[in-house]
């Protein structure tokens, strides 16, 4: 466990308090405004328009649907909380002294901060469109009489789910590709910088090697 100070804990507590404020206040206010707007419209329509019972029923159902959607948005707070949780984890990792303290460079030679070719290959294979596709596992139900029906029903439902998952995967693939490209660019940049550091370190080492002899020469000259 890396060294933790009371100030770290205090900072974390203040961070958590701040997280709570964002979720409850900002988003909450927006959703309330949306709900108010919908109520206003609803009132106007039901109070002023001459509607048949069928029209009223349809509109009512539509408004209820909207209500449900607003409710859904309200519950997106949960999603935000989950995201906040991720932020906490990332923040925890970033602030971990082990990871955040840069390793000192030594004159003996530069350490290679490389994420490795194998990992790059893994990323490359993971972002292929078919990597997101879902296989449908074979399934058989051995119940007498209704077994075949359950099997078919289950396969049908699997296929239906897979159909939508694959459509989603098609949309997700370009996004992943973009991320991977950005990552590869960063890796390339990192490698270039490391090469530059290595060159600079070599130069420094050469200069340091020359320094004692030049000092000695100056000393001799002073004697004379």
């Amino acid at each position: 466990m890396p060294k933790v100070t009371p100030q770290d804990i205090l900072a974390d507590i203040e961070f958590e308090l701040m997280q709570g404020v964002i979720a409850s206040d900002e988003l909450g206010r927006g959703v309330v405004a949306l709900r108010q707007y919908q109520n206003k419209i609803r009132n106007e329509i039901f109070k002023t328009a001459q509607l048949s019972s069928t029209q009223r029923d349809i509109l009512n159902r539509q408004f209820r649907l909207n209500d449900m959607l607003i409710t859904l948005i309200q519950e997106m707070v949960l999603v935000i909380q989950a995201t906040q949780q991720d932020i906490r984890r990332i923040r925890g990792v970033a602030e971990s002294p082990i990871l955040s303290t840069p390793k000192p460079c030594t004159a003996a030679g530069s350490e290679q901060y490389d994420i490795g070719d194998s990992l790059l290959k893994e990323i490359d294979s993971a972002i292929k469109p078919d990597a997101l596709w879902v296989d449908i596992p074979p399934y058989y139900n051995s119940l007498p009489l209704i077994g075949w029906f359950i099997t078919r029903l289950r396969m049908f439902l699997h296929r239906l789910a897979a159909f939508y998952v694959h459509r989603l995967a098609d949309k997700q693939s370009p996004i992943n590709r973009t991320f991977a490209d950005a990552l590869l660019t960063l890796v390339q940049l990192c490698r270039e910088q490391q090469a530059q550091i290595a060159t600079l370190e070599t130069t420094v080492a050469l200069l340091q090697a020359q320094q004692p002899s030049s000092t000695e020469n100056a000393h001799n000259a002073h004697r004379h």
Binding site: V4, I9, L17, Q36, L59, N60, E75, L78, R88
Partner: protein
Amino acid sequence: MTTDNITFSVIVSTLDRANSLATLLHSLEHQSYPYFEVIVVVGPTQDNTLEILRKYDSRIKVVHCPTANLSQSRNIGLLAARGDVVAFIDDDAIPCHRWLEQLARLFQNSSLDATGGAVYTIHPNHSTIQHRLGIASCLAEQVDVLPSRIDSLMILGRGTQWLERMMGTNMAFRREPLIKVGGFDEFYQYIAEETDLVFRMINAGMEVHPVKEAVVYHVPASSRNRTVFTHQGRWWLRSRSRIYFAIKNGKAAGEPARAIIWQSLRALGAHGLWYIRLVRARQLSLSRFFYLAAMEIVNGIDAAWHGLFTSRQLLNSKLIDNEPYPQSIHQYQNAQSHFQPSIDPINGNSSSIVLSTPPLRICLLSNTYPPLQYDGIGRHTSLLARGLFELGHTVHVITHGDRERVVFYDGAFVHQIPYALSRYERYKGMVNLYHALNRSHAIYNQVRRLILNDGIQVVDSPLWLFEGLVTAISGLLPVVVHLQTGLRQTSEINHDSNLTLDLMGEMEKMLLERAAFLIPNTFSTVAAIQKAYNILLTPERYRVVPHGIIPVGDEAIRSCDPRRISDKWTILYVGRLEKRKGINDLFQAIPQVLKQVPQARFVIAGADNSYHDGFQTETGMDYPTYFARHYSAYQSHVTFLGSVSDEKLADLYQSCDLFVAPSRYESFGLIYLEAMNYAKPVVGCRTGGVPEVVDDGVTGRLVEPGTPSALAAAIVSLLNSPKQLREMGLAGRQRLLERFTYTQMARQFAEIYQKVIADFNACAKDPTEV
């Protein structure tokens, strides 16, 4: 207050529950929102309800309902109401302090037509969340408690139309729309009338939006329809309402006939199966079974007939009092309302003290608390809560529980909350710190809810496990910290040291620094805290308030006869068997005492803690075994009782001649007070806060800690003088009554809270203050 243009009519339907009604009316005096009238609709009562109502004179509108029909009663109340909003609450419930204030804020939204809040059953033996974000279908299926709104979007039963519903004991409607939709359907005598109303309002395009807060605390009371918490009741009224509801609303929602029939049969069938189970368990006689079955069938047919073939004329009740009501509300609260003491919602007791200032609303924190298992802090907090309640204040306690619930226990609303390990992942490796931080955060969240619902003004936290730290850092409310032994002190005494304990000690220090005020139990604690935490406590930051206990009645006192020549002296030790409590010193002193007073007998009560204090590691045995091995000659004179119940402990105190507890450190030492309570002289050590409790030479004897010979000498000298035993015992009892009762303790705490709240409010109002 920004919501003062909305007026409320609080409608209470009541029938033969006079005591519960009196409690409710008393609690309404404390509402933070003053713009409301109270309308009590009295059914065909046979108890002293009217007598109670007469005490309120013109402050309450009393109207009468000729039948025992809840819907009709509510409609009559509605007709008498003059407020913009009508709020319904049952006569066996009490609202939270800011109930109407919250409802008023919601009704600021001009589109909102109806709302309602959560309902908690707070009976000590049956506590639960009774209703929160509940939903119901057009076929009378319902789910009463949901964790979040998103759960209401799922279809959970056969019905296709599901709506959010309120519970009858906590619902509010804008008056005009409610009249417009026809009020409550009076076919429902009991159950489902509120849900039916919500369906009609929604289908008329009105906005109904229940909320999670605006809490009402429910203490279910028996009525004509049921004997509470038993199987006795007119349960056919439930199935009658459900069948009628399913037919009426199922038809309107276009449900197929088979679904409605199925649901109706299910309502009857569920009751039938329940009755059969009761008969098999011999809780229901066969004749009663047939009677119930017949009533179910008759009422089922009646409900089906009315649901299918009758069209009900709604709001057909008439005000039978013919009283010309004014067009505006007559406010319920008067000048004295805010000075009324807090009330016990379970039995209706309240303090007889006349308050000169409004009662405080205090939140105490304690990791453990009765009625669940509790420790020393839980016990102290419980006594403090009881004392504060007796002084007229409202007390909320936040404690740990395996599920969320609220119990009213011995003067306090006890909020048992679990905590999720959802934050501070970074400290997962330091388990104790990780748990303590998450718990402190869960407490902070509960404090926020209590501010919203109950308007708490101050939080009191123990130093131990820094429970109030997150609240103190948030600056929401002033946090007062009462000081006993801190974790860092315990670590030092036990020679424990690791990174987690160090950090937890630092967190305690942070709480000390952030606290609005400190309340140590002795001056010795102040010195010890300053030393342990390397912190300077200036006198204006703290005030010493000693612990207090409940004094027993004089009849429980059995002081020593001064002329007694006893063949058996009983010396009692109470406390955990561990090094800090000086049990080893007592073991060494026992042989010395017995050499001089062979008729002495030692009774040792308390759990063995040899595993945790390292004694087992050192010796390979627990304390009783150790004594048996090393002092076998004296074994017949010593009895180890282990952990004992409170009743047994009281017996032990009562029957002993001398109490001894040679603790090497005690920040206070409640055990000495307990012995003094029974007029017993005590022998202890001159350490920590003990000299502030025991007056050496007057109420007992004190020796230097870790000196068995001096301990033995003190015991022997007292046993040789029965007169001294008696005098010291009585002096101890007198000292307790003068300085160490729980009411004295609570009074001093209340004075501090008052000052802290005033300072906090002054700071909050002063914009120049940070």
